[in-house]
Amino acid sequence: MALVELKGIVKRFGGVVALNGVDLTLVPGEAHALLGENGAGKSTLIRVMTGAIVPDEGSITVGGTTCRFTHPAQASAAGIAAVYQEPMIYPHLSVLENIFAGAEMTGRFGIVRRGAMAAVVRPLLEQLDLPASLLVRRMSSLSIGFQQMVLITKALMLNAGVIIFDEPTSILSQAETDRLFVIIERLRRDGRAIVYITHRLDEIRRIASRVTVLTDGRVSGTALTSDLDEAKLLTLMAGKASRDYGKPLRDRAAPAHGTPALRMAGLTRAGAYQNVDWDVPAGQVTGVYGLVGSGRSEVALAAFGALRPERGTIALEGRPIAPRDPAEAIRLGIGYLPEDRKLQGIFATKPLEANLTAGTIGRFLARGGRLDFAGLRGEALRLIGYYRIKARDETIGIGTLSGGNQQKALFARWAGQSLKVLILDEPTRGIDIGTKAEIHDFIRDLAAGGLAVVVISSDLPEVLAVSDRIIVMRRGGVVGVAEGEAMNAEAILASAVGADARAA
């Protein structure tokens, strides 16, 4: 297999520079871990490697030959394959067809030669310890773990020299993860280059011999895993854990006493979370930190009435509640700002005012059910001013605003309502530093005003900067609550990635 080198990759999207001169060398037979925060550029880099996007500058060399991928098929031909977290599949087709879609082996007249295809695939399945009976199963009937295995099989079929794994284990069980690692090891020994994107410390040690860290679109460090001890690795991953956002860290509130504003106990939902306890006191910011797939959003949605738990209790200010839909949760005083603002948050083609008042329309009704436009407009302007949303006026479409301003608008939507608990899910994802800091200020202000605020985030520095206490989740369970002295980056990261459970 060939050496793959990326040199000086630059990619811009509009005004944002996603990759700013990235160099990466993939050595055959080596497993290379790629780390980085959200927004650091990992996904973009992967997409460049697989030919899904074309870099603005830089080169990709495979075995000494410079390549230019304008279509994923070319990257496949060059032997580069990727296995994503959320596999792109054909749900109602069989496994065999998922592997061969678009590249079926055909005989005369275009008849698909299923037998021949199966014969080609079967030894690959054996390599991966998969039963041949898998071939006829419908793809959607497989667990995500097995679906990934199918995609790996596809990569093997392409005789991929480079296989990229994008956080594959975040939704896998322990058993599935172990199996995956066995496979990866075999692939590596076959002489393929493995790129492994992860946040998990234990996995880095198990899998990778080299580590590269991406920060803000640039390589901020690369080393052999053997040269790094645990502490150094943690620091590398935690990055600028003590980075401040230009404001001194607030005085953390003392541990609260009395009935918490929101208490969830024993919450369980198969496949998402188990035995989760959250105590969320009023007047404080409770951070919830964990890697993707740790179940944080699902737990939050339980309180919000959007995803009902199978077991457990939820209590609001001591009273048991069981909201059946978000409307009811809001009526009770619980708000939730979704992770994905584009798909679940904003009404992109609607004016800013409509977006800001989407939750409070009922408050602006005059006699006869008439909308009080002056009132709506006034509220919108008030929120725009208070949250310093950069928009010409309240009538422009929210889709034209920057990500940061959109997020502020969503924040304002909630802040304008009378709530007891507000859950923010990744409130500063994909936003510039300046706006991040502003939002952190807003969060602190809300808590200071008596609201119980929950901030779910995978950005460790953010969680540390903003929270009074931090709930740490891992694989659907709460592994710890950090307060006071225990709130430091290394300790939290350690429990989130399971450094302490490494012996398992």
Binding site: G14, F304, P326, A327, P338, L343, F347, A348, T349
Partner: protein, 322 residues
């Protein structure tokens, strides 16, 4: 920009089309501009226009919302009314019961779409079958004569107020005003627009998406029923297949009027203007002895033409948003 996504270009375009159409027909037959002809135009426009009002709400609710059964509801409503009148039920009561039935028919559509979660095309296709069939069953396949009914009743479709058709002044215009108010000036309207734009975000913002959309189907059933009642009064007879063409025409009017087929935009005001255009075109065609089939065909051409012209414009606008 307006919360409804309604901008000024579409109404201007429609107004221009209306004028053009009228002028075009007038060149051939100047007497088309007579009062009597306007009267007939208006009368036709009212019935199809009322159906289109309800359809506007359904389509703007998003998620491929559509009601293919509107014509069948109009027909079934006529038949129900006819049977009641023939059973010597007093006409105000008969009308009231028929309206109730219409709400029920709309409610069935609502349940099929929001509770059974059947795709609206299929659900309303099925109810189209069902309602049309019921209309035939209840009427025995024949028309029910209503010419002996109270003249107050017949005035619903044949009367005049201030020289203009009763159903236009007393029914359509107030209904239009109410729907416009509903869409642009009430909680429901605002919530429906948001739902049509992004139903996931709407649900997470606390809006009850199922109820909002369901209500649109119920209202659509109501407007179709009113149209059916007026039609029966106008002709003095009930026809079980009264509304068969109206399905297509109502959708054409709504789309022509600026309501995006995917929901979240558009206004009944646009629908009303489009109704005027279609009424003119339709009437002009029949005035020149073109038969209803031509009318439908021309409407088909207009519908496709408008979207073909509009798509590049929309695409450019979307690119600018990125």
């Amino acid at each position: 920009m307006h919360a409804s996504g309604f901008d000024r270009t579409r109404p201007l375009l429609l107004a221009a089309m209306a004028v053009l159409a009228l002028a075009g027909f007038a060149i051939g037959h100047p007497d088309i501009l007579s009062g009597a002809n306007f009267d007939s135009m208006a009368v036709f426009g009212v019935e199809i226009g009322m159906i289109a009002l309800g359809q506007t709400l359904v389509i703007s609710g998003g998620d491929s919302g559509i009601d293919l059964s509107v014509g069948a509801i109009a027909g079934l409503a006529q038949v129900v009314l006819g049977r009641l009148l023939h059973a010597d039920v007093a006409w105000p009561l008969a009308v009231a019961v028929t309206l109730g039935a219409g709400l029920g028919l709309g409610a069935i559509n609502a349940l099929a779409v929001t509770w059974l979660r059947i795709a609206p095309i299929i659900a309303t296709l099925a109810t189209l079958f069902g309602y049309a069939g019921l209309a035939l069953v209840l009427s025995g396949g024949t028309n029910i004569d209503l010419t002996q009914q109270s003249s107050w009743f017949l005035a619903l479709g044949q009367g005049h107020v201030l020289g203009l058709p009763f159903q236009l002044i007393v029914l359509y215009l107030p209904l239009l005003a109410m729907f416009a108010f509903l869409q642009h000036g009430t909680f429901y309207g605002r919530a429906l627009y948001l739902t049509g734009t992004n139903d996931r975000a709407a649900a997470l913002a606390g809006l009850r998406v199922g109820r909002l959309r369901g209500a649109a189907y119920v209202l659509c059933g109501l407007t179709a029923t009113i149209a059916g009642i007026v039609g029966a009064a106008r002709l003095g007879t009930t026809r079980p297949d009264a509304g068969m063409n109206d399905n297509l025409i109502s959708i054409a009017i709504v789309v022509l009027g600026g309501t995006g087929i995917f929901g979240g935009t558009g206004s009944v005001v646009g629908t009303a203007l489009a109704t005027v255009v279609i009424a003119i075109v339709d009437y002009g065609l029949s005035y020149n002895d073109f038969n209803p089939i031509y009318q439908a065909g021309v409407i088909g051409v207009i519908l496709i033409g408008v979207i073909l012209v509009e798509n590049p414009v929309l695409a450019r606008r979307a690119r600018r948003l990125k």
